[in-house]
Amino acid sequence: MNLVLHVWRQKNNSEKGKMVRYEAQDINPHMSFLEMLDVVNERLIQKGEDPVAFDHDCREGICGACSLTINGRPHGPERGTTVCQLHMRHFKDGEEIYIEPWRAKAFPVIKDLVVARQAFDRIIQSGGFVSVKTGSAQDANTILIGKDTADKAMDAAACIGCGACVAACPNASAMLFVAAKVSHLALMPQGQVEKQKRVLNMVRTMDNENFGNCTNHYECEAACPKEISVDFIAQMNREYLHASINEKR
């Protein structure tokens, strides 16, 4: 198949970027989207042009590195799918495809389609953990956790930290990312002791990292490759309100 790509090219963080048109010819529909870009890049290199930079690593949908907005949708048109797991068979021959980076103030562009997502790491630093030092744990089976609770916690913990939620949100809000971690730990007995401190610190860090606010569009859930539910945002809001009231007391 033949495609026309419009790709965001930006040399570095300080220079302005623009969309550049490329033709991708003889593309095999069984290729993944990133393999298609590999082919385009190989051809660019051979022509002596600068290849398109994009983040990727595991290419099996779990590391969370890949981060392309395709035709206006983070990770492209398929639900519950990272770009690396998106295959060209979902596109039509001759289609024009617009490829852009995650767009958010909190995720500055480093080059082309590569953005910096350290803001997420800083949010985790502020409380996304259970403060247990190595060696101090009791026997694992002394903590009983109902299967339903464990399953629900796992649903939240499945977040791969890719940032598609931020990219998809009309407000570039990071609520789903933060809610997933807050809820995962708040659901588990191990996370109870630090529950209130955690949600307050994580939400405040998020607010300081230039993310927008949640106005409940639920685009995050639709874009999330792990299909994490916005219910966790409600849970986080609950935890946050509770913790803020307790804090004032």
């Binding site: 690593d57 595991c58 985790i124 996304g128 694992a140 791969i160």
Partner: protein, 637 residues
């Protein structure tokens, strides 16, 4: 090269206690004066960095990804072993130890493996305390599943994302320390050289992957947890960025490289679909708990699997290995699949695949149960292939997955270079010639959470902290050399892309040194690899400049190292004139086609010492002494 494994004396079960008791300690007040450099943030690296920081050491942590959370441990699916014996099915430390030694085809160090089995339970405790959402039974107790190479259920899991959840646990512990200021994190920073001062590891040279700046960091010890070298085969289940650069450059600075020929080919991967393919995707081995592996009994059978009647199906694992059946170890299962395909009975267009069939399991347990257990794996399979595995069987084929070889380390996990410690897949320590499923996570975390934090103090306590700074001449030298190498790659401006060279190397490695190796194929590879390497340095085209994010340049450096390392791997395979575990030499097999070990001549680890550019490295031996395990022919029948 002196290979002293420093295994503590005394009975097997008491060695680790004894080592910890004999080790020198660092006064708590002095710990912060010692700086430890940790490269890599996978299970081993992240857990080590976090734990060392908790103990009070000053840690600097480096990774090439944009966040430590993305290290490739994250992709491990199936689970983590531990000798908890929660199911009360006869498991014990002794049995986990024995299974691992046997699974490794009697090519690992007894003392190390026993320690691993001892520590396994503490790992689960630690991870549960961190909030890792392991699978639970309805009563709230931890659930276990069985895995290849074991007849007990000792594998703990978190859906099909165990590696992810364990890594996030370690990552969160690491981020906590970063927040406390005890760990300084350097993401998007690639280690390009190890710096030795007076023969001891004192720091590293790195390239900032955003600005291209080459600089150095000094420390009192260097810890490499940089993963395996599976990408030397180009196509593997590793992440695209996985590379051998850190361990290779350490090797060139004097660290012994042990058993590079031990590579594991995983039996359950999604088959290759075309030349453009950039990587292979693993389907967790846990699928073999309920899936049955088969191939047609007829050659060139192009019928769809559903049209092949039961009588014409060959459930070859169940046939050949009745007691382990579909749960035979990885090397054995992979080879059996290859045999079926070599016999012309493979599935799919290219005939490179066998079926993994869930029809029986769905009939027995219901689709809902199967969905609960393997939902995400089925989902992934459907995404990649466009086929529905609930309806028709999956097609699978072996792919390079894990590398048991790595830098040689002693019982303390220190390499032949003083002060250079190596953890996880990057070292050679525990898996011998083949690793059992769900043991990589166990080893990575054992090394990082428990072993290194207990042994490194013994080394540090003998040093004056902070004795070497980056103003030392050795750092300047390393920076200049690294910079020159980068400049050289950018200046060649030839005709072929880096990927093109990588693919060519990978094909040679897979065909000549893959699942089955012969003297002739290995000699062929030994002749071809230097040719490719020579052409690389004349004809490679690397786009862009150094002073920017340059993925083409990053790849070039890694492939250049693979082009050197591949040769060592092949040489090791050639010199090991026996078959064992993941290393199968066609000349050395039984009449039934099983691997034939040569314990008389090869019951040792081969450790390679670098001799300089263009010189043949020297092969040393560390004899493997079995005092507790009877060296038997491995049988899973």
């Amino acid at each position: 090269m002196k290979l002293d494994a420093r295994i503590p004396a005394g009975p097997l079960a008491e060695k680790w206690d004894k080592r910890r008791f004999d080790a020198k300690l660092v006064n708590p007040a002095n710990k912060r004066k010692y700086k430890i450099i940790v490269v890599g943030t996978g299970l081993a690296g992240a857990s080590a960095a976090a734990t060392l920081a908790e103990q009070g050491f000053a840690v600097e942590s480096f990774c090439y990804q944009d966040s430590p959370r993305r290290a490739h441990s994250i992709a491990a699916q199936g689970g983590i072993n531990a000798a908890k014996n929660y199911p009360n099915d006869g498991d014990s430390v002794q049995r986990l130890f024995y299974d691992t030694v046997k699974g490794g085809d009697f090519r690992s160090r007894e003392a190390n493996v026993y320690r691993l089995a001892q520590i396994s339970s503490s790992i689960i405790d630690q991870c549960v305390a961190q909030g890792v959402p392991f699978a639970r039974e309805y009563a709230g107790y931890l659930d276990n599943r069985s895995f290849g190479g074991a007849q007990v259920s000792r594998t703990f899991y978190a859906r099909g994302q165990t590696g992810q959840q364990l890594l996030l646990g370690a990552y969160q512990a690491l981020e906590r320390q970063i927040g406390l200021g005890t760990v300084k994190m350097f993401p998007r920073t690639e280690m390009l050289d190890l710096v030795l001062v007076d023969g001891a590891a004192k720091g590293i040279t790195v390239r900032d992957m955003v600005t291209g700046q080459i600089s150095s960091y000094a420390g009192d010890a260097v810890v490499l947890a940089t993963g395996g070298y599976g990408n030397v085969f180009y196509l593997s289940t590793n992440a695209k960025g996985c590379n051998a650069t850190a361990i290779w450059r350490a090797y060139k600075k004097g660290a012994g490289f042990a058993n590079p020929c031990y590579t594991q080919i995983h039996p359950t991967c999604i088959p290759v679909s075309g030349d453009y393919q950039s990587k292979l995707t693993l389907m967790s081995e846990s699928l073999r708990n309920d899936g049955r592996v088969w191939a047609s009994k007829l050659k060139n059978d192009k019928r769809p699997p559903e049209a092949i009647p039961e009588a014409e199906r060959d459930y070859f694992l169940e046939r050949k290995y009745p007691s382990y059946g579909n749960l035979a170890p990885r090397d054995i299962s992979s080879r059996a699949a290859k045999e079926a395909c070599d016999d012309g009975r493979g599935a799919g267009e290219a005939g490179l695949g066998v079926y993994l069939d869930f029809a029986d399991a769905i009939k027995r347990l219901g689709e809902k149960t199967i969905r609960e257990k393997y939902g995400n794996l089925f989902h992934m399979y459907a995404k990649i292939t466009g086929e529905d595995p609930y309806k028709s069987p999956m097609r699978i084929y072996p792919a390079v997955h894990y590398t048991m070889g790595g830098l040689w380390v002693d019982y303390d996990l220190m390499s032949t270079v003083p002060g250079l410690f190596v953890l996880g897949e990057a070292n050679f320590s525990d898996h011998g010639a083949n690793r059992l499923g769900a043991s990589a996570l166990m080893q990575g975390l054992a090394d990082g959470y428990f072993i290194l934090p207990a042994t490194i103090a013994d080394y540090l306590a003998r040093l004056k902290p902070g004795a070497v700074k980056t103003d030392h001449a050795e750092f300047r030298k390393a920076e200049t050399q690294t910079g020159d190498l980068v400049k050289k790659m950018l200046s060649i401006n030839g005709k072929r892309t880096v990927d093109d060279f990588h693919r060519e190397l990978g094909k040679i490695m897979w065909n000549d040194c893959g699942m089955a190796r012969s003297e002739a194929s290995l000699k062929h590879a030994l002749q071809k690899i230097p040719e490719i390497r020579a052409e690389f340095w004349k004809n490679v085209k690397v786009a862009g400049a150094n002073e920017e994010l340059n993925q083409s340049l990053e790849k070039a450096g890694r492939v250049a190292d693979f082009l050197e390392f591949g040769e060592l791997l092949v040489r090791d395979a050639l010199e090991r004139r026996e078959s064992c575990g993941g290393h199968f030499r066609v000349e050395y097999q039984t009449e039934e086609g099983e691997a034939r070990r040569d314990d008389e001549n090869f019951c040792h680890s081969a450790v390679w010492e670098y001799q300089g550019e263009g010189k043949t490295p020297v092969r040393h031996q560390e004899p493997l002494i079995y005092e507790n395990v009877h060296l038997a022919a491995r049988s899973y029948k």
